[in-house]
């Protein structure tokens, strides 16, 4: 059993609890134990905090990392936004002495000190890593193959970009999450401009909603063209943007897409036999039923 401190973030636990539930359950089936990270907070939102003052962003993220350092466990998480904050700050503080000292100066006040003793992982990369889990193991864990479904993948920006500060290689034509989808028995589908941003990041969703959902709408057009049954991602914030975004698109632009959007953990849950209720799919703004009909 590989054990990790499970960093929840905000949107998974507070908007899509199904992501949280499925993440814990499915990965347990795959030999990965996700432990509560007591007292963790918002990562904090890289757009909002990073834009106002990077130093606060460093310090707040560091606090979350230190909770894991105290647990002596690496961090696993399921949100790209969180990944940017927690992973990137962790790496930056390890690398840059002066940044580290600055942050520790702040954290002194709450008796904390960044030592850089843990690493940060996105659950998706752990699932893909044969050392930890790997495609085959996922395939073996499947009880309800998602056969006959066409699923497109949205990677999300902050997981893999900027590539120089990540370890996933090129960000132009990645395919590893498609492999994870194929492992569930579904057919992964390529579509135009796959790596285009969901539109939510950088505080834009809050700053200029129509601008932000117009980007989402462009993705929807490309997805429609590829005739997919569902879109999957590994980021609840992207999920929020695609899921609630479709409702907003309908309100503002009068276009109805009705494309089910599921976090990879939710898909994995379904494939491992979890029921839609256990995944709280009813909380999704866009009904997942058309997709479920194909699966169940």
């Amino acid at each position: 059993m590989h054990e990790y401190a499970f960093f929840l973030g905000c949107i998974a636990p507070n908007r899509y609890p199904g992501c949280e539930a499925s993440a814990i359950k499915t990965s347990e089936n795959l030999g990965i134990k996700l432990l509560d990270l007591e007292g963790a907070s918002c990562c904090p939102a890289p757009g909002a905090f990073g834009s106002i003052d990077l130093n606060i962003w460093y310090a707040m993220a560091a606090r979350n990392i230190l909770l894991a350092e105290q647990m002596k466990k690496d961090i696993a998480l399921i949100c790209n936004g969180c990944y940017k904050s927690i992973y990137e700050v962790n790496e930056k503080l390890k690398k840059h002495k002066e940044l580290r000292e600055g942050v520790n100066e702040v954290l002194k006040g709450i008796d904390m000190e960044f030592k850089g003793t843990v690493d940060v992982w996105h659950l998706a990369e752990l699932l893909y890593d044969p050392e930890i889990c790997g495609i085959q193991k996922i395939r073996d864990s499947i009880t309800v193959p998602l056969e006959g479904t066409r699923i497109a993948v949205h990677y999300g920006c902050h997981l893999m970009k900027p590539k120089k500060e990540r370890h996933f290689g090129s960000t132009e034509h990645p395919y590893w999450i498609e492999e994870l989808v194929a492992a569930l028995g579904a057919e992964p589908v390529e579509y135009r401009n796959k790596m285009l941003c969901c539109g939510a990041g950088g505080g834009v969703r809050g700053y200029d909603l129509v601008h932000s959902i117009d980007i989402t709408n462009e993705k929807m057009i490309n997805l429609k063209e590829a005739k997919v049954d569902a879109l999957t991602e590994v980021c609840p914030f992207c999920q929020l943007q695609f899921d609630r975004g479709q409702i907003e698109i309908e309100e503002k632009f009068g276009v109805k897409w009705g494309l089910p959007v599921l976090h990879y953990c939710e898909l994995l849950g379904l494939a491992q036999g979890m029921s839609p209720q256990e995944l709280a799919l009813d909380l999704h703004a866009v009904s997942c039923e058309p997709f479920l009909e194909k699966v169940l």
Binding site: E172, H173, A226
Partner: protein, 702 residues
């Protein structure tokens, strides 16, 4: 104590001097006389305008120099290398009857030869000269630290004086130069260089790794800005090379090993088994009227099909093949990796008996006086910049693939079609600086220099061939600096090519039509562009050919940081290298278009012919000498020598080391090691170097 050492150790030098006396009377006759005479050094400090004087206090330095032991005279001048400057030195040598000269100026790598001649003209042995580098390693690197720079200059002079007072007469060794040359690589650069050398009456070995000569130029369709057909102007030269009596052409050949030095390089060449006999080779084997006549029957019967590299893999070839109809020499070649030795070709070839499926590589040794490297370039692996989708999207091609696609002798017979469906493209985007001017660590930081111009040419060729075609050139800057180049740019613009000032961010493919969508910004309109085209041509960056690295090491040539071969001086000696007798031609030194390549080839040829026509070269006499009374005959130095110049010999009853001067290059590896201090490195002798160290740290050799 340094004194004492010299006294003792100069002993063998007497021998050397007298030995020399036999060779060169005038210089040597002085040598013994000078022996005991105590050192009188003249120091000459150069202002180099303000280059040195600007950040170093010349007066101060000169006053200091006067106080140094053994300094008999000190002077300064605006430009020491000027005629009056050199005059000052010559006069001073006589007036103050100097035994050595120190010039404090620029780098010895620049002006040592100049001042050695001056010293000689002043009546001293040229090797009684030492240079103090107070510019490149002084004023220029301490421009804002006058005090520090001045102190450093004083020390540099003190160190130089210490050495100068221990310098001795040396007689350079002159060696005969082999009346032959070698050119490695038979692209346009190598061919031109070889032709020039041959026409100058020098026997030249032309080594080419491929089965035919012609190189990259033979793959091109037309050439800018004149638009003459590349093959049409190239093939006559290829034929000349094939015909030239003075050129010994070796195709399918590689340099295996290089020994020796300028005038006398011993080069081993690997002639790769071609599997096919020339008529000459056949005759040698007693096969009358046999050997390959290029009839091509073998190709017709060969069952194996492989992509033809000459056509960038866009056309098939057999396991026994020629690149294209105009190859020189017209000889078929077997690709051993794909040949299944079925023997059909042997049968069809019949009595000509030209094909030998058991042929082995052979090693040939040749001796040459000078060598020219013309190893050319390859395309950068542009798929590494995967935002442009090369090797992912069928209709994204490189510029060389485009050349073949539009060439009448190419895979499509010159009908410009796109790979995915053979349709004629109506909209084509050219991406300039594809992989060039790239500081990400993936691409190349330099400008590949000829892409702008050939892309203009490509646009013209499209407009000429396809009515109603629309070429788009996505560029950052159009670099058309050459004779009639800017005019060519004007012409292509007039012909209707559209120039979009913006670098392409990424290329997407329409999954159905296989058309390509260009994402760029029109930085002049300040608007993003979303342009759908039928085909994308990447003006791909160039990089040194794979062979270049191996070859340069064999010839002891250095490399610039960007990977191209390093010239002796970027401005004043662009063809030479730091290895005497080895020269560079064409793109192997840096990206060049055809005119520049040919020019550099002719330059290299003339440079390479000089020592050959002179017939002899002087070697700097930095040879190792054995101080026999100290030599214990342990022989450790013998194995250290990279040139097998040392040997143990029997001399009056004991083993001592002996140096073959012709082989010794003066690296001093032996001298640096000899446990008994029995090796005297001429001009870099232990007492001389120790004196320099003492001078620096103890302030003066005395």
């Amino acid at each position: 104590m340094a004194e004492k050492k010299t006294k003792k150790e100069t002993a063998p030098k007497k021998k050397e001097a007298t030995k020399a006396a036999a060779k060169a009377a005038p210089a040597a006759s002085k040598a013994p006389a000078k022996e005991q005479k105590e050192a009188r050094i003249g120091v000459f400090i150069c202002h180099c305008g303000t280059n040195i004087a600007g950040s170093i206090d010349i007066e101060d330095v000169q006053e200091y120099a006067k106080t140094l032991p053994a300094v008999a005279f000190a002077d300064n001048y605006q430009y020491m290398c000027s005629t009056p400057g050199q005059g000052k030195i010559k006069d001073a040598i006589k007036e103050h009857n100097l035994t050595g000269v120190v010039v404090a100026a620029c780098s010895p790598r620049l002006h040592e030869p100049t001042f050695r001649t001056t010293t000689k003209e002043g009546g001293l042995n040229p090797f009684r000269f030492e240079m103090a580098n107070i510019r490149e390693q002084g004023s220029w690197v301490h421009m804002h630290d006058r005090e520090g720079g001045t102190d450093k200059a004083k020390d540099a002079i003190r160190i130089a004086v210490a050495k100068a007072s221990l310098l001795e007469d040396l007689i350079p060794k002159t060696v005969p130069v082999e009346h032959t040359a070698m050119v490695v690589g038979a692209g346009i650069a190598g061919m031109q260089a070889a032709l020039d050398l041959a026409n100058a009456g020098i026997k030249t070995y032309l080594i080419e790794k491929n089965p035919t000569i012609g190189g990259r130029m033979s793959q091109l369709d037309k050439t800018f800005p004149t638009l003459d057909c590349s093959q049409c102007i190239l093939t006559p030269k290829m034929v000349d090379v094939g015909r030239a009596e003075n050129i010994e052409l070796m195709t399918c050949a590689e340099v295996e090993d290089v020994e020796g030095y300028i005038g006398n390089f011993d080069v081993t060449i690997r002639r790769k088994a071609r599997g096919v006999l020339t008529t000459a080779e056949a005759e040698a084997k007693g096969i009358v009227g046999g050997g390959c006549n290029g009839c091509g029957d073998c190709e017709n019967v060969c069952p194996v099909i492989k992509p033809n590299p000459f056509e960038m893999g866009m056309k098939p070839r057999k396991a026994i093949y020629i690149y294209h109809p105009q190859v020189v020499p017209l000889l078929y070649t077997i690709d051993w990796d794909s040949c299944i030795k079925c023997g059909l070709c042997v049968d069809i070839c019949g009595d000509k008996k030209a094909i030998d499926l058991e042929m082995q590589d052979e090693l040939v040794k040749v001796k040459v006086g000078t060598a020219i490297l013309a190893t050319g370039y390859d395309l950068f692996e542009i798929e590494k910049k995967d935002e442009w989708g090369y090797k992912k999207y069928e209709n994204v091609v490189t510029s060389l693939e485009f050349e073949r696609l539009i060439c009448a002798s190419g895979p499509t017979g010159g009908h410009m079609v796109r790979p995915s469906d053979g349709e004629t493209p109506k909209k084509v985007a050219f991406l300039l600086c594809a992989g060039s001017r790239d500081n990400t660590g993936i691409g190349k930081p330099y400008c590949s220099r000829f892409c702008c111009m050939y892309s203009l040419k490509h646009a013209h060729q499209l407009i000429e061939k396809i009515p109603g075609v629309q070429p788009y050139l996505f560029y950052m800057d159009i670099r058309s600096n050459g004779k009639m180049y800017e005019e060519f740019y004007y012409r292509i613009q007039d012909e209707g090519a559209k120039f979009m000032r913006g670098r392409v961010a990424n290329v997407l493919e329409d999954p159905v039509t296989k058309n390509l969508i260009i994402n760029a910004e029109d930085t002049l309109l300040n608007r993003p562009i979303n342009l759908e085209v039928d085909m994308v041509v990447l003006a791909t960056a160039v990089q040194p050919s794979m062979e270049a690295e191996r070859t340069r090491k064999l010839f002891g040539v250095s490399r610039s940081m960007d990977g191209w071969l390093l010239e002796a001086h970027p401005k004043l000696n662009p063809c030479g290298t730091t290895t005497a007798g080895v020269f560079l031609a064409g793109v192997c030194q840096a990206p060049k278009d055809i005119p520049d390549t040919v020019a550099s080839a002719e330059a290299a040829a003339s440079a390479a012919s000089i020592p050959i026509h002179k017939g002899e070269v002087e070697l700097e006499p930095y040879f190792a000498q054995c101080i026999e009374e100290k030599c214990a005959g342990c022989g450790m130095c013998v194995n250290l020598c990279p040139y097998q110049a040392l040997a143990l010999v029997e001399k009056d009853g004991r083993k001592v080391m002996e140096v073959t001067e012709a082989k010794c290059k003066g690296c001093g590896t032996c001298g640096g090691f000899c446990p008994g201090g029995a090796i005297w490195m001429q001009h870099f002798a232990t007492p001389q170097i120790i004196a320099q160290i003492d001078a620096f740290l103890l302030g003066g050799a005395k």
